[in-house]
Amino acid sequence: MSLEGVQTVGSARRRTARTADGLPEGRVRRALGSRRIRDLGLKVTGVLTVLVALELCARLGVLSRDWFPPMTDTYVELAKLAFGHPLWTEIGRTLSGWALGIGLAALLAIPIGVLLGSNRTAYRLSRVVIEFCRPVPSVALIPLAVLVYGVGLEMKVFLIVFVTFWPILLQVIYGVQDVDPLVYDTARSYGLPPRARFFRITLPSAAPYIATGLRIASAIALVLAVTAELVVGAPGLGQSIVVAQSNANLPRMYALIIVTGLVGWALNTAFQAIERRLLRWHPSQRAEVAS
């Protein structure tokens, strides 16, 4: 993680240095393009190496067939699943829990966070409560959720809302508290009424923090949805994994695990793409750097 960060900073610096040298932008872009292709090539090679190694391990009996089928079987199963309806229904079930949960959590956490972030007393009053509720391990709440809501969608949504509310709330509070006082002064000196100050200044300023909160919440929400399905047997991807395992359909079980991973990856990629688009003005997303 930290290594990756260092690399990005380094490459950004190199990029500016090159443009500053007065090289035509096209050449820089082409050089960057060829590097991107090389990076992609390396990534693909890495993945293929792991897959081939796993395949060999399974075929040569290094890993027992009792619990590890050859990767090719898993991929054949994955392809079969992809063209059948049940898989997409299961994904839809997991994702609907995810979306409802995260949506409700955001709907609650954003206004409350704005309130707590802009009022010192309210923030101090609520801090202990937040610090106490936040670290409660989410899984510990499953029995309560089942007791109250049964084993369906509502149970999943409750769990996700309860757990993802905190990271979103904290990010919103930090974002609102971090609005530059000079920006407020500017807005006030130009006579912006409080409402306009909120929508034109506070919200856009806090947006990068809110986006981070939502991205963190998204990952947690998926883990929770799948956990609830696995443990309680609520319908969704998690439950399908348990069913495949108890039917001794190992390729299917692995295929579903891969699907779960892909769903997580897709959600994260989508969040990053949206952030890049909406927050292109923010220093973390800027492609161009002023001289």
Binding site: G191, R200, W281, A290
Partner: protein
């Protein structure tokens, strides 16, 4: 006309604590260019924040064109030193200049026209669609000036606006400011710690001593149509600069 009488500002609840501004009295005539000169920590920023209505004063009186200042007045614009923070990075240059106009009740078409004119006046006509952070520091400060001009203030308050740009850019911005001051017929109250800058720009220079009050005042009789080389070579320029240097230095030493 801006009138400041017996202005006093004390921070905190105790009215007898050491004041940041004490017994400050001066007036600025319409269309006058007044520089306030003071070393750092003499209360310049506090004074400006009181004048602009951003913070309330403890006692004393401020009025702009006869109306007492209790909050940010409609016909006043403020240019801050830190342009990179006072421009909004999520808005393009155009939107940065135009957005305050909506809250002043200017209709959209007129706002567009005012924005175009202001950007043109600061030489940024073609840069409206860029973002502030894509521009150099000097250009960013020009955007801030354009935003102030588009607002059509009768008075412009400037808090060391050119203190964080390089010398070359700075003299360019000084000339640009003098140009728009004449063209728009506005009053300018310009705070600086730079003696040369004060003499070069102003009709009148007020020296501020801590806690902010006017310790010395000079009228600058240099001809208008000022020029970075000629004006600064004028014997009067050297004399005023010496006088102000002594006034700044000779004040009571702050604790």
């Amino acid at each position: 006309m801006l009138e400041v009488a017996n202005l006093r500002k004390v921070y905190g609840p105790d009215p007898h604590a050491a004041p940041a501004v004490a017994d400050l009295t001066f007036t600025v005539a319409d269309r006058e260019f007044v520089c306030i000169l003071g070393s750092s920590g003499c209360g310049k920023t506090t004074m400006l924040r009181c004048l602009s209505g951003l913070i309330p004063s403890t006692s004393g009186h401020i009025s702009l064109r006869g109306k007492p200042v209790t909050g940010p007045p409609d016909d006043m614009a403020f240019v801050f030193q830190d342009y990179s923070r006072s421009l909004l990075p999520w808005m393009t240059v155009r939107r940065n200049v135009a957005f305050p106009l909506r809250y002043k009740g200017v209709d959209r078409r007129e706002a567009e026209a005012l924005t175009d004119e202001a950007l043109d006046a600061v030489g940024l006509a073609g840069r409206g669609d860029r973002y502030p952070w894509q521009l150099s520091g000097g250009m960013q400060q020009r955007v801030a000036i354009a935003r102030a001009l588009a607002y059509r203030p009768s008075i412009l308050l400037m808090d060391e606006p050119f203190a964080s740009v390089d010398a070359q850019t700075r003299s360019g911005l000084e000339d640009l400011l003098l140009g728009v001051w004449e063209r728009y017929g506005i009053t300018v109250l310009f705070v600086t710690h730079d003696i040369d800058e004060a003499v070069y720009l102003a009709d009148r220079v007020l020296v501020l001593r801590p806690p902010a009050n006017v310790g010395h005042e000079v009228t600058v009789n240099l001809p208008r149509g000022r020029d970075q080389v000629e004006t600064k070579a004028h014997p009067e320029f050297g004399r005023l600069r010496g006088e102000l240097f002594a006034a700044l230095d000779g004040g009571p030493v702050a604790a």
